[in-house]
């Protein structure tokens, strides 16, 4: 049983070695070597994951490193160690992370070719893999938190990869700080767990919960809500989603890996992982569901009008994550994870394809200046198409199965479920609309390369290449593979997937008996909705003239383009007041008045009295003599006063001076 000890840690450690090699020596090494290192280690850990997968399928005992785990933090009697555990859920995540991750590494080799700081990029990417695998392998909350913050760091570094671009730095900072708000919730949740369970270990917490259900609901709800805060931060849900669109400042492969496929799904993973807690708190679950649905709808609406190809995808990511939260919220964890997986496929594909487009256009990201790329870059076009169909939820593409599963679960989830389902369905409509809008604007129609230029040319790559060109094979291979996955990734089917995850997330509360044809109807409905979305998009953008859209619906458009002014509201409502408080409240009142002022006051009093005393020295002999005489007089009076106290034998004279 010590053999899993051998390879489980290796899964994260291998990319870490890659990070160290590239990070320390990278600047000196030739690009070829850098990319070899960068590819070799993730590939190796993917191999290990595959091996783990085989172990799981062949029904061997699941490898766990708990008691032998090296100790990390000792808190009172609680010993928290670097415990790793592998189970079905983790396995799915690992497959996605290392698999998709490797593909994106591969893609990056081509995409980042011309960047300086090439080595830095791959070092960061490996670092991200390290933390992400730690996150999913961790067997306790604290170690999970390590990965949690670590991926945040990696994303910060990668978003700010173009270190000479101010906006990139801002975006990175924003991402990290907003995530920190979430981490704050996570921390508090851990403290509560420590307080009420005395452990942070997933299994032990679950055991205690199973043990005595008398755990007070209040605490559990609080814990869940704190965890949820963390999840909303990492997975860009309302109210903390604002960082994700800006995160598109990073290189596109990064957006694909971190901000679409893996990191942002950590929140979903965490909720699924902690479902034992959530199951005990319907309130928390309801909040999750509502937040998820709201986010899904909200983000979808914004996505409809974005003109930056990556931002469209970003908002669509937020929206899809909303679906996953909805899934968790209605207790369909396995469905959520299922969607997580398929989404990883097609969203990564979308980003990579977008990246290939951007690459082809030499850094152009503005939809209004694309168009007609179908002929120039066919591979990109076809793969992208697969992805679009998948996300729109057409049968039999991957997206259909997972999204359908979630909606179905929502539909069967009591009264609130119906409402949620309705919103979710509407969102599906919007989704297919904006995806096809993007599709049309990018590939169909004729090129608008000389359109309105208001989006600054992305720091990426050379100047705007007049004629677009297809990307090199090293970038296309991942596209093809992911396209294949997006097409057939869902064929496993919800039942089998749910059954596979059952040991972790508990059985799927799938519709019993008669639920069959309801499911059918729902699925049909979903496909219809998707088709409708396509139709609308086609009717507006299908023909070359897309100005009608601009003309119609001015006001709502404006609202959406300004993203409901949420960023502005946050700045005006939170950031500015805090800065004002700091600068004036603390800086002036606190520092200058209280801290400095008090010191100055004392010093002033002292030196003033000193000045007064110096005035004694008039320099005039007679005044000195006068002082002396006065002093002598005082002294004599004091002494003679002694007689008043003790006439006989100087008995008890003045004692007050002493104690």
């Amino acid at each position: 049983m010590n053999e899993p000890m051998l390879f489980l840690p290796l899964i994260p450690l291998l990319p870490f070695v890659g990070f160290l090699l590239n990070g320390v020596l990278g600047s000196k090494l030739p690009k070829a070597l850098v990319s070899t290192i960068a590819l070799a280690f993730p590939l190796a850990s993917f191999a290990l994951v595959a091996r783990a997968a085989w172990m799981v399928y062949s029904g061997l005992a699941l490898p766990v490193i708990e008691h032998g785990a090296p100790e990390w933090i000792v808190f009172g009697a609680v010993h928290i160690g670097f415990g790793l555990a592998l189970d079905q859920l983790t396995l799915v995540m690992l497959l996605v992370i290392t698999g998709v991750g490797f593909l994106i590494h591969l893609y990056s080799v081509g995409y980042m070719e011309h960047e300086q700081g090439y080595w830095r990029y791959f070092a960061y990417l490996n670092l991200f893999l390290f933390f992400m695998t730690v996150l999913v392998l961790a067997s306790n909350f604290l170690l999970m938190f390590v990965g949690w913050e670590g991926v945040g760091l990696a994303s910060y570094l990668l978003i700010g990869f173009y270190i000479d671009r101010r906006s990139a730095g801002d975006a990175g900072k924003k991402a990290f700080v907003v995530n920190r708000i979430g981490d704050f919730g996570f921390l508090i949740a851990m403290f509560l767990l420590l307080g009420s369970f005395g452990t942070l270990n997933f299994s032990e917490v679950a055991a205690q919960l199973a043990g005595h259900a008398a755990i007070s609901g209040g605490v559990v709800t609080l814990i869940c809500l704190c965890l949820l805060l963390g999840a909303t931060g990492k997975s860009a849900q309302i109210p903390l989603y604002i960082w994700l669109p800006d995160a598109m400042e990073g290189p596109t492969p990064v957006s694909a890996l971190i901000h679409a496929a893996t990191m942002v799904t950590a929140g979903v993973y965490m909720i699924a992982r902690a479902h034992a807690l959530f199951d005990l708190s319907p309130t928390a679950l309801l909040v999750v569901a509502i937040l998820g649905t709201a986010t899904a709808f909200f983000a979808a609406t914004v996505a409809m009008v974005q003109t930056d190809i990556k931002r469209v995808l970003a908002y669509s990511t937020i929206s899809q994550l909303g679906y996953m939260f909805l899934g968790c919220g209605v207790g369909a964890y396995s469905a959520a994870v299922f969607h997580l997986m398929t989404h990883a496929f097609f969203k990564a594909l979308l980003f990579l394809a977008a990246g290939s487009v951007i690459h082809g256009l030499g850094g152009e990201q503005d939809l209004r200046r694309m168009g007609g790329l179908r002929k120039q870059m066919p591979v990109t076009f076809w793969t992208m198409t697969a992805a679009v169909l998948a996300i729109a939820g057409f049968f039999p593409f991957a997206g259909f199965f997972s999204k359908d599963a979630i909606l179905a679960a929502a539909f069967q989830h009591g009264v609130s479920g119906k409402a949620l389902w309705t919103v979710g369905l509407t969102t599906a409509l919007l989704t297919s609309f904006y995806m096809f809008r993007l599709w049309y604007l990018t590939f169909l129609g004729e090129s608008r390369a000389d359109g309105p230029a208001d989006s600054p040319a992305n720091g990426h790559g050379s100047a705007h290449a007049g004629h677009a060109h297809e990307s090199p094979w090293i970038m296309l291979t991942p596209l093809v593979v992911l396209a294949a996955l997006s097409v057939c990734g869902g064929w496993i089917g919800m039942e089998r997937f749910g059954a596979f995850l059952a040991p972790v997330t508990g059985g799927v509360q799938a519709a019993a008996g008669d639920g069959g044809q309801i499911e059918m109807m729902l699925s049909a409905l979903a496909v219809l909705v998707a088709a409708a979305g396509w139709f609308v998009a086609h009717s507006i953008y299908g023909r070359a003239r897309n100005d009608r859209a601009n003309a119609s619906l001015a006001l709502p458009r404006r609202v959406l383009e300004r993203k409901y002014w949420v960023d502005e509201i946050y700045v005006a409502g939170i950031v500015r007041p805090l800065e004002g408080l700091a600068r004036y409240g603390l800086g002036w009142v606190g520092e200058w008045t209280l801290v400095r002022g008090s010191a100055w006051l004392l010093a002033g009093v002292a030196s003033l009295s000193g000045e007064f005393l110096r005035r004694w020295q008039s320099g005039n002999l007679r005044s000195y003599a006068a002082w002396l005489t006065a002093a002598a007089a005082i002294l004599l009076i004091f002494v003679l006063a002694g007689t008043l106290f003790g006439i006989n034998g100087f008995a008890d004279t003045i004692h007050w001076a002493v104690r």
Partner: protein, 103 residues
Amino acid sequence: MNTAVPAEWYLILSAALFTLGVVGFLIKRSLISIFMSIELMLNAVNLSFVTFAHEWHAVKGQIFVFFVMMVAAAEAAVGLAILISIFRARGTLTVDQIDLMKL
């Protein structure tokens, strides 16, 4: 002849003289006069020494007086020298004008 002046009177006189000296020190403007008022104070003390010596029939008092006179003489020597140097340096003996050093 048989009625001697009581000792207290001598003491009071000496006290008065002493006070006179102090006052002189305070109000006189010329350094010489100030110096003389110090001499006055010393002699006032001498008077009370003599008185006490007579009271106690102790010769110590008289001895003390002689020593005081001697010391006063020494002080006079030094003091006058200092006053001369003051006059040389400043051209005045008015105490109110001699305040180069103050504060």
